[in-house]
Symmetry: C2
Subunit: 456 residues, 2 copies
């Protein structure tokens, strides 16, 4: 996806360096022209010791940059492999939001080991950031920003920015705060440069700025940035005091991570973040077994449902030929409905209040789908077992597709209602529920038909 | 997700205006403090005529802004409802990338109707943009940017930016081009402001800038912006001449749309973009029926597989009780595997070359999952049908879970190999394939067991 040729080439180079096939000097020259992100990505292929050796030969000012793009679990192992001076220097130069990301994934003990290498001020800052709830805007924000006072002239403000530019991740967004540090508004370097130098900063104040409270969900920060096309979103405490900012590049990763979370849930997987590349067998097992076992126990009801119709089945074993088709179709239609609904709820395309309108429409669509599929299935039924079977299959198909679609569509809304994540309505869960319903519908119709026309 | 309270309140206000319950003047005052994005979102609740009335009372310079945030299909209807002068003015002020988005969704005829209202230069520009392939970087880019010449001094460059700032969507990224318009590098307002005014622009040139060719996929543009944390990505033609730029806010929407596309495919839905809120029954039917019918025909093989074992089933109808459990478990494990793999391939977490390593690990994980689930199922089998059934269920469960997992894991890679979208390996498809395999495995084991120990 990313320029893989660059990264593959670089990874090859680094591997040869790890095997002592190229000189330090030659590698240094090559790395000078490569971006931090690419080095970090290519490092993935090396052993921890290899990574440490590469980091140590990088110029001092680049180490923290590259280190910041490495994944937190690898970062921690890497710190142990680096010589003490380099480890301290890297931690010291690490951007605050990257430091938070590293610390939040560590155990108490490992976190303390990292903290011992940090200056007291940085420990204090990190402690404060880690005090915000997991996946909150506070965890995502950087506490470094440039704030202007409303009474300053634009030329004074510009000089202030010139002096403090190094402190902030971006100068494209500058905040305006009152003497208590409360957020009044924002502006950008553009406005300072283009405006009348003698004008006051307060003349740049427009309407109330968009902001987010530090404890709110980071997904909400992503939504706000996306909806209002912001470069940076100010983060304030309950009193409106500016605490930091969330930048759009951090939010891109959140959008992707949240989509992955939803996709995994829909696929019937646990929600914990896991890089598939790096995950151990045990981690993968744990991510999957919970749902699978729950579905096995749900299937007890399916077995029970079939057993109720033992007599019917003994009278016409041919019925069981169509069991996979009937219950599968209900599950498929239901998975489709749930998938669309969950995603539309997640992106805000529809809201919880729309359920009635959507339900009516789904009923129409499901009926049409059911009739179309039933017609196809009728032919197959005729081939295997004659008119009676074909008719039972036809009717069951319509009923099962409607049943599955209803479950698939309504369950996400129901979950939202009880403040649960709608993505819990996974394809496997819908399929399992549709199985039980499908069995009862199919054998129910078959039993009724057999009793009504015992000669078939 | 977005500040719904603001938008709901606003929608209520607009609805009352539509019913003539509030004065134009009062609404104007209220709208002055509201952002374009919120007005566009709240307008959704109105009729097309209502939307047109609201747009007409907005100050001229805000109309195109609000219009740009409305969805293309609504935009077109809205143009017809606006009075001719307003429609022309809105189109004239619309940002080029928004105009492209509007035109690309229109029929030839409707597009011509829009083009007649545009100036010849704008028609020409739009034609050029629409000449790029669908979903390419060229379709997404804005052709307006600021380019600096390497020989200029920073102070000259700064004056140039001040003069032309209105032309560009952002001045945070400024491009440096040679006399032929070829991209040499980029810089930002920050560097112009912070640098020595007498220095040359060429002193700001760093390493080769990241760029994308105009015909490449927009998803690649998104990856590059995300990987390199860019604000804007330059788009060049085959000769390296700068044609425009893709900005990060456009790309956020692409990331979300592509995730939706993947989620829909995984759920066994057609890939066409569709707002669930606005979709008609027919559109929804068409999005769903293709896969559903394909799965019905796949289920013929499942029916055939069961029919092969008619004798076994007649000898022990109790076997059919466990059919949903066995085939369902294979499908569930397979869906999980496919979901993880498709997402990891899409985000670049794993690549096509990793398949062997991942396959070996999946085999281990699937075996562990199979044994755990089989142990649970063994108990259920014992309860319903005694030791023999329990043993058949136990063995089948292990085999089916491994089979399903292998299909789920390998199919996405196989699809990638044939240059097809791995997300085609949807949960319903995997489930259907697992059904067939599961039936053969389960009844195969049962038949063998019955023959080996006919007294049960």
């Amino acid at each position: 996806m990313i320029p893989t040729s660059t990264i593959d080439q670089l990874a090859g180079l680094l591997a040869r360096f790890e095997r002592d096939e190229i000189e330090t000097g030659a590698l240094c020259d090559d790395l000078a022209a490569v971006r931090d992100q690419d080095i970090a990505r290519a490092l993935k292929a090396l052993s921890t010791e290899g990574m440490a050796r590469v980091l140590e030969i990088l110029p001092g000012e680049r180490r923290a940059g590259v280190f910041g793009f490495i994944e937190p679990d690898v970062q921690y192992a890497l710190l142990d492999a680096l010589d003490e001076a380099t480890a301290r220097a890297v931690l010291d130069d690490l951007r605050p939001d990257n430091l938070t990301a590293l610390l939040e994934d560590l155990s108490q003990e490992a976190g303390d080991a990292v903290a011992r290498r940090l200056s007291p001020q940085r420990v204090q800052q990190a402690r404060r950031l880690l005090g915000y709830p997991l996946e909150s805007a506070g965890r995502l924000m950087t506490p470094e920003f440039i704030a202007l006072e409303p009474g300053w002239t634009l030329s004074h403000a510009l000089r202030h920015v010139q002096r403090h530019a190094g402190r902030s991740e971006t100068v494209d967004v500058l905040f305006i705060t009152d003497e208590g540090g409360r957020l009044l508004g924002w502006t950008g370097l553009r406005a300072l440069v283009l405006g009348d130098p003698a004008a006051k900063v307060e003349s740049l104040l427009e309407d109330k700025p968009v902001s987010i409270v530090v404890s709110e969900d980071r997904e909400q920060a992503a939504r706000l940035i996306q909806h209002y096309d912001l470069t940076a979103l100010p983060v304030v405490d309950d009193g409106g005091v500016l605490m930091g900012m969330v930048t759009i590049d951090d939010v891109m990763d959140v959008v992707e991570e949240e989509a992955t979370e939803d996709i995994h849930k829909l696929g019937g997987l646990g929600a914990q973040h896991l890089s598939l590349r790096g995950a151990s067998m045990l981690e993968l097992f744990k991510k999957r077994i919970g749902w699978l076992l729950m579905l096995v126990f749900l299937a007890i009801f399916a077995a029970g449902a079939v057993s109720v119709f033992e007599e019917t089945l003994e009278a016409a074993v041919v019925l069981s030929f169509f069991l996979p088709l009937i219950i599968g179709s209900g599950g498929n239609a239901g998975s489709q409905g749930a998938t669309m609904m969950v995603r539309a709820l997640a992106t805000g395309d529809v809201g919880p209040k729309d359920w009635l309108k959507l339900w009516v429409r789904e009923l129409g669509v499901a009926s049409a789908l059911g009739v179309t599929m039933a017609t196809a299935a009728w032919g197959i039924g005729l081939f295997y077992g004659g008119t009676m079977l074909a008719n039972v299959v036809f009717l069951s198909m319509i009923a099962v597709v409607i049943f599955g679609s209803m479950v698939g569509m309504l369950l996400p809304f129901l979950l939202t209602r009880f403040r649960l994540d709608p993505a819990t309505a996974s394809a496997p869960l819908i399929t399992s529920i549709a199985d039980i319903g499908g069995i009862l519908i199919y054998f129910g119709i078959a039993t009724a038909w057999i009793h009504a026309a015992p000669t078939g």
